[in-house]
Symmetry: C2
Subunit: 132 residues, 2 copies
């Protein structure tokens, strides 16, 4: 098993970052405008990237302003069964966002491609939360 | 031991990407303008990120238009002894750049921070090689 792990400091309170990660508006701006999101444990969030399939994320944990955990229940075969967590640690007005996409079965070219794109996701999250 | 691995497709011939990765001009645009680079095996390339120390990369391999390999001989303590490779695979006018930063002793917050920033490096490399 292998994981993708990033840390990106965002100049915004953790409440702002948390709202971006659980809301239709935030994820619509940061990830894809074609989505269906409910901020409830057990909900199945759906994301459409125009790839011919829908990426479905089951919400496993919502610890307010601290941590979000999803399990991928449908998507590219390599993603199914993997988990994605976002941990928020605020200090002096900066929120460190730690993204972990774990339980990859193999370190493939698709893993490498997704690793790059998770950083682009975090860049857009940063710009969105910082009002850029 | 753990590694950072990315794949980013660039719409440019591999010769363009290779030149960017071995030249003072290319790395000056993509990484830091404060640098000293020689495209020779055995050279010690120096990069200054205004962090109070110089990052020094020994050039271990230069396979023309195919692969570049560096060993970090001085930098942050977590980087010393790690290696960085860039592999270029061109198909139909697109060059896949595979970046591997390997031999990390531990998966730390600095690893996570650098993982994010290697993606930003690849984004700038893409923009530079695509003339953006």
């Amino acid at each position: 098993m292998t994981s993708i792990e990033h840390l990106n400091p965002i100049k915004a309170p953790k409440e702002i970052v948390y709202q971006a990660l659980i809301s239709q508006e935030g994820l619509g701006k940061v990830w894809t405008p074609k989505l269906s999101v409910r901020p409830e444990v057990g909900a199945i969030n759906e994301f459409d990237f125009d790839e011919g399939y829908i990426t479905k994320m089951k919400v496993l944990e919502l610890s307010e302003n601290e941590r979000v955990l999803w399990e991928c229940v449908d998507s590219d075969e390599e993603w199914i069964g993997t988990k994605i967590s976002f941990e928020l640690i605020e200090k002096d007005g900066i929120t460190d966002v730690v993204l972990k996409h774990y339980d990859w079965r193999e370190l493939t070219d698709f893993y490498r491609f997704c690793n790059y794109h998770w950083a682009m996701f975090l860049k857009r999250l940063k710009d969105y939360c910082e009002g850029k």
